[in-house]
C-alpha cells in the first residue's frame, strides 16, 4: 500500500511540474503584452517597454519560468506583475478562501441529495420514480450552470426577493449573511451536479442489487433493509467516492461562469483575469493550485477506494 501511495504521489508531483511548465509556455502565446495591458492603449511605446523590462517579461519564457519556479520550494509564488503588485499568495489566498466556502457549501448540498436521488432511483430501477429522477437529473446536468443560475436569480431573487443576487457579502458580514449570499450559487451548482452524482450512485446500486452476494444475502433470509444497508450501499457507494472527489476540483477551480454571474471573486475568476492581464505569476499559481486540488482529491479518492476494495490494492501491487 505504501508503495502504491508513494508511486501516486510521485506521479502527482511530475504532473504538477509539467502543468506549471505548460501554463507558462501557453501564457506566452496570449495576445498582447503585460505593459500594454497595465498602461493601456494611450501609453507610449517607451513607457510600455520600460514597464515590461522592470517586470522581467522581456526575458525569455524559460528564464521567467525558472525565476518563478525557484521560489516554489519555499512556498514563494512570487509577486503579481500588475498593480498594486502584491505577493501572489495575497492575491490567491482570499480567492481560494472564497472558492473553498462555496465549494464546501455546494458539496454539503449536492452529496446527500445526489446520493439519496441515486439510491432511490437504483432501488426503484425502471419504475416511474427512477425515470423521473433520471430525466430531471440529466436535464439539469446538460443545462449550462450560468443558465441555471440566471433562472434561479430571476425566480428566487428578483421575483420572490428571498435571496441576494450577488454572492459577495458586505464587509464584516456574519456567517448567516455569508450563507445567504452563497445560497443561490450553491443551489445552481447542486442542480448541475445532482444528475451526475445520482446517475453514478444509481449505477452502483443497480450493479450491487444484481450481484451474487446480494442474492445470497436475500436467499439466506436477511431482511431487505439490512441487505441494502450492509451489502448494496456499502458496495454501491465505492465508485461514487471517486466521482464525487473529482467534482471537488471542479467546485474549487472550475466555476468561472458561476463566479462571473454571481460576482464572486474565487480562484477561477482570479485566474481568468490574470490570463487576460498577462499576469503570468498569478496565472501560473492559480492554475497550479487548481491542478494541485485535482491531483490531491483524486489521490485521496484512489487511496480510499483502495482501502475499501482489496482488488484495487492487489492490482496496484502487481
Amino acid at each position: 500500500m505504501a508503495r502504491y501511495i508513494a508511486k501516486r504521489v510521485g506521479l502527482a508531483l511530475v504532473t504538477l511540474v509539467l502543468l506549471s511548465m505548460i501554463v507558462f509556455a501557453a501564457a506566452q502565446l496570449l495576445p498582447g503584452d503585460l505593459g500594454r495591458s497595465v498602461l493601456g492603449r494611450d501609453a507610449s511605446a517607451e513607457a510600455v517597454a520600460e514597464y515590461n523590462h522592470a517586470h522581467g517579461t522581456d526575458r525569455s519564457a524559460v528564464v521567467q519560468y525558472l525565476d518563478w519556479a525557484s521560489g516554489l520550494p519555499r512556498g514563494d509564488f512570487g509577486t503579481s506583475l500588475v498593480p498594486p503588485e502584491e505577493p501572489v499568495w495575497d492575491v490567491i489566498r482570499p480567492a481560494l478562501l472564497n472558492s473553498l466556502k462555496l465549494a464546501v457549501f455546494a458539496f454539503v448540498l449536492v452529496v446527500p441529495f445526489g446520493l439519496l436521488g441515486g439510491v432511490l432511483s437504483g432501488l426503484r430501477a425502471g419504475k416511474a420514480l427512477d425515470r423521473g429522477i433520471t430525466v430531471v437529473g440529466l436535464s439539469l446536468a446538460v443545462v449550462p450552470e450560468f443558465v441555471t443560475g440566471l433562472v434561479l436569480i430571476l425566480v428566487l431573487s428578483i421575483w420572490a426577493g428571498w435571496l441576494p443576487v450577488t454572492a459577495q457579502w458586505e464587509p464584516g458580514a456574519g456567517v448567516v449573511s455569508q450563507i445567504q449570499h452563497l445560497t443561490l450559487p450553491a443551489i445552481a451548482l447542486t442542480l448541475v451536479l445532482f444528475g451526475y452524482v445520482a446517475r453514478i450512485t444509481r449505477a452502483g446500486v443497480v450493479e450491487a442489487l444484481d450481484a451474487d452476494y446480494t442474492r445470497t444475502a436475500f436467499l439466506k433470509g436477511l431482511p431487505r433493509n439490512t441487505v441494502i444497508r450492509r451489502h448494496v450501499l456499502r458496495n454501491a457507494l465505492l465508485p461514487t467516492i471517486a466521482v464525487v472527489a473529482t467534482q471537488v476540483g471542479y467546485l474549487l477551480g472550475g466555476l468561472v461562469a458561476i463566479e462571473l454571474l454571481f460576482n464572486y471573486r474565487g480562484i477561477g475568476l482570479t485566474t481568468l483575469e490574470a490570463a487576460q492581464l498577462k499576469d503570468y505569476t498569478v496565472l501560473a499559481a492559480g492554475v497550479l493550485i487548481i491542478g494541485f486540488t485535482y491531483v490531491v482529491v483524486t489521490l485521496v479518492a484512489d487511496i480510499v477506494s483502495a482501502l475499501l476494495n482489496p482488488r484495487i490494492r492487489f492490482e496496484a501491487s502487481e
Binding site: 503584452d33 500594454r36 431573487s157 428578483i158 441576494p164 450577488t166 462571473l260
Partner: protein, 562 residues
C-alpha cells in the same frame, strides 16, 4: 435693465475686465452667445458668479445661480455598482471607469465640468488666463481640509501636478502632454495661488484640470512627493467620503464630517465592482444596488418607464472614428472616402446600434454640445446614388476593403452596420474583428506605432472617450503626425485652422475655425463619425441628488436616500 446694473457693468469693463472678458461681454450683448454658451465661456475664463449674474441682468436674463437641491434625508448607505478595474488606483495611473470612479470619491479636482460642459469652481474658486492664454492662474479655495486634517494649499497642488507630469507612464500625459506643459511649469505664486505656465496658448485649460482629466486629483504634498504612496496612505483627499477599506471586489467609504462643501447626507458609500455587467444590472433589479454607474442602452431598457427606477442619460462626445488611410489604396482618392460616408443612414444606425441613445455625427469630432461647434454646418445624409456616382468617377465601382476593429462596446455592431450600408452601394466590406488586446497591441513584438493594427490597418474603427472640448481629438487624431492619426491625414490648411482654434479665446473665432475644419473634413473625409454616444446609467427612484457623470465619476456629496 436698471441704471445701477448698467453702471456696475461699465465699471467692471473699465477697471477689472480683461480683453478676453470684454470680448465675451461683446458677444453676449451682440446675441452671438445664448445663455448656456455664455455660462460655459464665462466659467472657462474665470468670471465669478456675481459678475455672471450682473452680466445676465445687463442683457435682461435671470440670475444663473441659486438653484438648490431638494432637501436630503440624513443617513443611510448608498450601494453603487460599477465595472471592475485592473490598473492601479494611484492617480497618475487611472484609466478605467471602475478605478477612476472610486478614486474620484475621496479625491477631488481643481475644477468640475458639468454635463452641460460648463467648468465650475471646485478646489479652485477662480482662475484667470493671461492675454495670450499661455499662463493660467488659479486661486484656491480656503479652508479645505484633507482627510488627515491638513489644510489644502498651493504646495499640495504643485506637488500633485508635478508628480503626475513627471511619470513616463502617467496617464495624464494624453491630456497634458509635454508639448503643452512641463512639471516645472506648475508654480506656486502665493499660499493659495498656483500658475500653470504653458508652452503654447490653450483656450480650454480649466477643462483640463477638471474631473475629465481624472488623474488630476489633489493629494497632500507629503504624499504626492512620494510616488505610489497615495493608495497605501488610504487615498487621502478632500472629498466628501474617506476610504475605510477597499479591495478589487468592493470599497467602503464613510462620511467626511469636515468636508468643505458641507456635511454629506449619507453615512456610507459602498462601491461594488463587477467583472461582468449582467449581474450588476440584475443586482439593481433585485434591490441589492441603488445605483449602477453605467450600462448599455440595451440594459437600460429594463428600467425605462418603471417608476421604481430612474435612467440617467447624458449626451456626450464619445464616438467611434472610422478612419481610412489616405496614403494607401483604395482610399487615396477622397471621392472613394466620401462615397463610403454617403452610404450610411445615420439615424437608422443610431436607432439600431444604440437604441436611439446617441446623436448624429458629421464626420468630424465637433460634437453639437461643444460651444465651439458651428451650428450652421450642414449634416451629411445618406445618398446612395451619389455614392455610386463618386465610385464610378474614381474608377472604383468594385470597391472592396477590410475594416479592422475590436469586439468591445458598440464597435462590432457599428462595423456590421457599416458593412451592410456599403453593400447597398455595391461596396464589398470584410470585417476583421479582433480582440481588444490584439487590436491595441504591437504585432510580432515590433515597434508599437508602426505595427499596432489600430494605427496601421487600411481601415479601422476605434472608440474615443468623452472630452469637454475637441482639442485632444484634433491634435492627436487629425493633425499631421498626430500620435493617434490612424487615417494619416495630412493637410496643412487643416493644421493651421486647428492651431488657430487652440489659440482662440473668443467663441466667434473658434466657431469660424471649426466651420472651416468641418468643411475640410467633409471634403476630404479621412474619418467617418456617424454618431456620438449618450452615457447611460440607472438607479433606484429612492436615490436623490445623484447625477450621472459621463466620465463614470461617482458624485455623491449631495446624494441622499428617500
Amino acid at each position: 435693465m436698471d441704471r445701477e446694473t448698467r453702471r456696475l457693468v461699465e465699471e467692471f469693463r473699465r477697471t477689472d475686465a480683461s480683453e478676453i472678458d470684454n470680448n465675451l461681454i461683446d458677444e453676449l450683448v451682440a446675441g452671438e452667445l445664448d445663455r448656456q454658451e455664455f455660462l460655459r465661456r464665462a466659467a472657462v475664463f474665470g468670471l465669478g458668479a456675481g459678475t455672471i449674474g450682473l452680466l445676465l441682468r445687463y442683457v435682461g436674463d435671470e440670475p444663473a445661480f441659486g438653484a438648490t437641491l431638494e432637501p436630503a434625508k440624513v443617513g443611510g448607505t448608498l450601494r453603487v455598482g460599477t465595472v471592475a478595474y485592473n490598473s492601479s488606483l494611484e492617480p497618475y495611473a487611472l484609466r478605467e471607469a471602475g478605478s477612476l470612479g472610486l478614486a474620484g470619491i475621496p479625491g477631488e479636482y481643481l475644477t468640475w465640468t458639468n454635463n452641460k460642459l460648463q467648468v465650475k469652481p471646485w478646489l479652485a474658486r477662480s482662475w484667470k488666463p493671461n492675454r495670450d492664454l499661455t499662463v493660467w492662474t488659479f486661486q484656491l479655495r480656503r479652508g479645505v481640509k484633507f482627510h488627515n486634517g491638513k489644510t489644502m494649499n498651493a504646495d499640495d497642488v504643485v506637488a500633485s501636478f508635478r508628480q503626475y507630469l513627471n511619470q513616463k507612464s502617467s496617464q495624464i500625459l494624453s491630456a497634458l502632454p509635454p508639448t503643452m506643459i512641463d512639471p516645472s511649469g506648475v508654480v506656486k505664486t502665493g499660499p493659495y495661488t498656483v500658475q500653470f505656465r504653458l508652452k503654447a496658448p490653450n483656450n480650454a485649460f480649466p477643462y483640463l484640470v477638471s474631473q475629465t482629466t481624472y488623474q488630476a486629483i489633489i493629494q497632500p504634498a507629503a504624499i504626492a512627493g512620494k510616488l505610489d504612496s497615495w493608495v497605501p496612505s488610504g487615498m487621502i483627499g478632500t472629498g466628501p467620503f474617506r476610504l475605510k477599506s477597499q479591495n478589487k471586489q468592493r470599497a467602503e467609504l464613510v462620511r467626511f464630517n469636515n468636508y468643505w462643501g458641507g456635511k454629506p447626507p449619507l453615512d456610507r458609500v459602498l462601491v461594488t465592482f463587477y467583472t461582468d455587467p449582467a449581474p450588476m444590472v440584475l443586482a439593481l433589479r433585485a434591490g441589492q444596488l441603488d445605483v449602477v454607474v453605467q450600462m448599455s442602452p440595451q440594459q437600460s431598457r429594463a428600467f425605462k418607464g418603471n417608476s421604481r427606477y430612474r435612467v440617467y442619460t447624458v449626451p456626450v462626445s464619445s464616438h467611434n472614428m472610422f478612419g481610412m488611410r489616405v496614403d494607401r489604396e483604395p482610399f487615396r482618392d477622397a471621392r472613394v472616402r466620401r462615397a463610403v460616408a454617403l452610404t450610411l443612414n445615420r439615424p437608422d444606425i443610431i436607432n439600431r446600434v444604440l437604441l436611439g441613445a446617441g446623436s448624429l455625427g458629421d464626420d468630424s469630432p465637433f460634437f453639437k454640445g461643444f460651444p465651439s461647434t458651428d451650428p450652421s454646418i450642414q449634416q451629411r445624409k445618406q445618398n446612395l446614388d451619389l455614392a455610386k456616382a463618386l465610385l464610378k468617377a474614381a474608377g472604383k465601382e468594385d470597391l472592396k476593403f477590410t475594416i479592422t476593429t475590436h469586439n468591445q462596446f458598440d464597435v462590432p455592431d457599428y462595423a456590421a452596420a457599416v458593412q451592410a450600408a456599403g453593400r447597398q452601394a455595391g461596396i464589398d466590406i470584410d470585417l476583421n474583428v479582433m480582440t481588444y488586446d490584439d487590436y491595441y497591441s504591437a504585432v510580432g513584438g515590433g515597434d508599437y506605432n508602426s505595427t499596432t493594427p489600430w494605427l496601421n490597418a487600411p481601415a479601422t474603427i476605434t472608440e474615443y472617450g468623452a472630452r469637454g472640448v475637441p482639442n485632444l481629438y484634433l491634435t492627436a487624431a487629425y493633425m499631421t503626425n498626430g500620435v493617434w492619426n490612424a487615417s494619416k491625414y495630412a493637410n496643412s490648411e487643416f493644421d493651421s485652422q486647428a492651431r488657430t482654434f487652440l489659440a482662440a479665446a473668443d467663441i466667434a473665432s473658434q466657431r469660424k475655425a471649426t466651420k472651416r475644419m468641418a468643411g475640410l473634413l467633409l471634403r476630404d473625409t479621412p474619418v467617418i463619425t456617424a454618431y456620438f454616444l449618450a452615457f447611460t446609467g440607472a438607479g433606484s427612484s429612492r436615490v436623490r441628488g445623484y447625477a450621472a457623470d459621463p466620465i463614470s465619476h461617482i458624485r455623491v456629496a449631495k446624494t441622499s436616500l428617500a
